[in-house]
Amino acid sequence: MNKNSALRYITILIVLGLGCLYALPNLYPTQPAVQIAYTDSGKSADQSLLDEAEAILDNQASGYQDIFLRDNKIVVKFNTLDQQLEAKTALQNTLLDKVIIALNLEPTTPQWLKDLGGSPVKLGLDLSGGVHFLLEVDIDTALQARLEVLLDNYRKSFREDKLRVANSSVKDLALVFEFKDTESYNNALRAYRNDSIGINGGIQYIITERPSRKTLLLEYSDVAIKEIRDYAVGQNLTTLRNRVNELGVSEPVVQRQGANRIVVQLPGVQDPTAAKKIIGKTANLEFRLEANARTSPLRKEEFNFKDNEYRTAFLERAVVVTGDRVTNANTGFDESGFSQVNITLDMQGGRAMQKATSGNIGRGLGVLFVEQKSKSELVTDEFGNKVIEQTSYIEKNIISLATIQAVLGTSFRITGVGSPQEASELALLLRAGALAAPMKFVEERTVGPSLGKENIELGMTSILIGFSLVILFMALYYRVFGLAANISLVINLVLITGIMSLLGASLTLPGIAGIVLTVGMAVDANVLIFSRIREELKNKDPQSAIHDGFSRAFVTIFDANVTTLIAALILYVIGTGPIKGFAITLSIGIVTSMFTAIMCTRAMVNLIYGNKNIKELKI
């Protein structure tokens, strides 16, 4: 009785082997490294860049361990932090802003382990240090912009069809057309109905008819809004990825969250202000001609300069090119050594620019920087409570006003842009492209590197102390059986580490707390079994007591753990960031502790007592 079957041994050995294998990468230390990528995110690092970097390192740096290509980037590994910094400076000084260089720490996992998919546990931002941003895409503004384009198109087409329009505007995200006579109203309604069927057969617009006032309202349907939203969020994701790329972070995360939010995580970033400056430029650009004496007052607008609020200039209302036509922009120096920004547009943008500038040499060309800002005021709501109402508005400022020297095409340059630093900031903004819809920060969490380290230390200390206390208690209270439970507990920790590494789940501070809690609760299954065996001993011989103890306790253990698992899974679904980390370690811990208690402890107890004639069982 109580012998281990071959199947049990095999299962335990396989699980234990895999657990150890995937927990193994965590034992290897990290080493300093730099990652080199082209500034132009469309371009992947290649052999020529690798050769160039190798030559620079051979000539100017005191040493490196390894250099190779990986995922569009070049990775150089070093033995010491000094070498890393020295090499970074040398590379940056020679390659200039052609490349972006990021410092990071590479795991030293051996190749054979990597081939098996082994990697160390990822650390969450609260442990590694870094910044977490949550941005919200303002869909209403995107809709508003589209409706304005639509308004223009309909005005034009109604004019061509000789419809008599009394009034037209965009109001509360609806297009409002008021007509002078019923015939125009009916014709327009027909035109609307024709247009409202989208390419894929879905309804694009919702038309509200008000025949008594000869007014038609046009709104986007939910399907169309969803399409616009998905497009805007997708476009912004791409733009953000490019901007984040500019920051030179080694493992950034840029992900959509929910309908209209985007999460940006930048591990290791120490200066949140700088990061925010680049990411948070919720900006668009507009190239417009400067108004001249012949421009009618209706066709021009006055704007402030961004760097000097007292300086203003008049620009034409018509937009020549918007920022999303910009494909590249970088800094350089003109003939007399002043900074300049070189701009490349796509074909469509180039054509528009050519058309606009051909008759206008000598006039000014302004670049407008469009920013989304918000203000709030105290208002009284319908229940008489004072509430803060937040309204967002758009601010447009001139960042550059230069004279057109020649007919411009797809590539041209802006001179007189100030210091090299100002030039590179302008280039960065131009290059990072435009956003399809403005965004604002709705959440930010920054953890300094020292706090991250402190959190790891505190977490590890509490795991160690809690673990030792439990081990000590179990050994004293249950003796031989306690020993088996303790070995199971160690196996449990190894398995949790292995599974975390394999899943690529991030370990967070609450995650560590989850492990600590698991350590405390994991013994529960063992305790259940042992106290059951104690009871059974009263009226059974030791061997049957062991057998029945295990099998009776199983049902209880199963029910108790499934319900805890339900709570953990709900936590995973509703939680964000660190809380998800807690839910993950807790769930993994529940599963592994069930396995170790039922399989491993049993196997050990069988090994010790199985198949023997025991008179007395000490438990």
């Binding site: 609260d126 949550l134 919200e136 949140p272 925010k276 948070g280 918000s374 203000k375 709030s376 803060i388 937040q390 920060f441 709705v442 959440e443 930010e444 969490r445 920054t446 953890v447 300094g448 706090l451 402190e454 959190n455 505190l458 977490g459 509490s462 102390i465 809690g466 206390l469 439990v470 208690f473 501070l509 609450p510 707390a513 600590v516 809690l517 350590v519 405390g520 609760m521 013994v523 529960d524 305790v527 259940l528 106290s531 009871e535 049902v555 209880t556 108790a560 319900t563 805890t564 339900i566 709570a567 953990a568 709900i570 936590l571 509703i574 939680g575 660190p578 809380i579 807690f582 807790l586």
Partner: protein
């Protein structure tokens, strides 16, 4: 395990204790409310660490001079760490950096340990999500227990969980401890833990009802509670051991979390003994409620 504690003899006393604790908690929650942490209230928080202790009053003055009137300045963990909380100002996300720069400009050069900004909308969403998650968790557990045991047990289990959650919330309300996302996570973990206990007790009651047919409900429940008492105490003890380790050595950031769990384990252990059993007694559980169902697959065996 030969000791026999007549648990059910004191069930009226326990019911009164529970009712009093529960009512105090509900009263405090409805009149005083919870002191919501940044995650739920929205706003900005920064933590700065200095080489030597800094007068909090001087930081307060700097803040007030610069129109950050609605702010709290406290030491965090040690007197070298300063935690500054500023209420939300129209979703402005750069207050944290502004304040840090302000302090540096005033000659207080410290190291920025963390900045957290939660917009007002995100805060209220997290609040709703948290509450909803709690309700969903309770409901799913109710369903599972009803499916595995019987509805009287499910009612007992869920009232025990509700009892625990409300009392812990009551503690947080009365002592004005910060209630943030980690505490919410701890609450859900408490639900898991307390349930663990409840299931173990219920499981034994079910088993005894099926095997010991001579005893009445009260003796049966007493017997079951005594049989599981050893296990209940040992598990609570080991869990409390690690939680105290976490509370003492885990740092300031998870103090609230470990505190909620410590309370949860204590209240949860108590509730698995008294609330569930009390509930079963008042619902007058009988043998019939737990008649052994036909084993699954029995039909197949009888087929020719």
């Amino acid at each position: 395990m030969n000791k026999k504690i007549p648990f059910m003899k004191y069930r009226k006393v326990a019911a009164i204790v529970s009712a009093v604790l529960f009512s105090i908690s509900v009263l405090s929650l409805s009149f005083k409310g919870l002191s919501l942490g940044l995650d739920f209230s929205g706003g900005t928080l920064i933590e700065v660490t200095y080489e030597e202790p800094v007068e909090l009053e001087s930081i307060r003055n700097i803040l007030i001079e610069n129109d950050y009137e609605d702010s709290q300045v406290v030491n965090f963990g040690s007197n070298l760490d300063v935690l500054i909380k500023v209420a939300d100002q129209n979703g402005n996300s750069s207050i944290g950096e502004n304040i840090f720069n302000l302090l540096n400009d005033s000659g207080l050069n410290g190291e920025l340990k963390r900045v957290e900004f939660v917009g007002p909308q995100v805060g209220s969403e997290l609040r709703d999500q948290g509450g909803l998650g709690m309700l969903v968790a309770l409901f799913m557990i109710l369903m599972y227990v009803a499916f595995r045991f019987q509805y009287k047990f499910a009612l007992g289990a869920v009232s025990a969980l509700g009892h625990d959650v409300v009392i812990i919330l009551g503690f947080f309300s009365i002592f004005a401890w910060d209630f943030d996302l980690t505490v919410l996570a701890a609450l859900l973990a408490v639900i898991g833990y307390s349930l663990n206990d409840t299931i173990v007790v219920s499981d034994r009651i079910r088993e005894n009802f099926r095997s010991e047919r001579t005893l009445g409900p009260q003796e049966m429940i007493d017997l079951s509670l005594n049989q599981t008492l050893g296990r209940t105490i040992v598990t609570s003890l080991t869990t409390l051991l690690v939680l105290f380790a976490l509370y003492i050595f885990g740092g300031e950031l998870i103090k609230g979390f470990s505190l909620a769990l410590i309370l949860g384990v204590m209240v949860g252990t108590y509730s698995s003994i008294y609330v569930v059993a009390n509930m079963l007694m008042s619902l007058s559980i009988t043998q019939e409620d737990l008649a052994v169902p036909e084993p699954e697959g029995a039909d197949f065996d009888e087929l020719p």
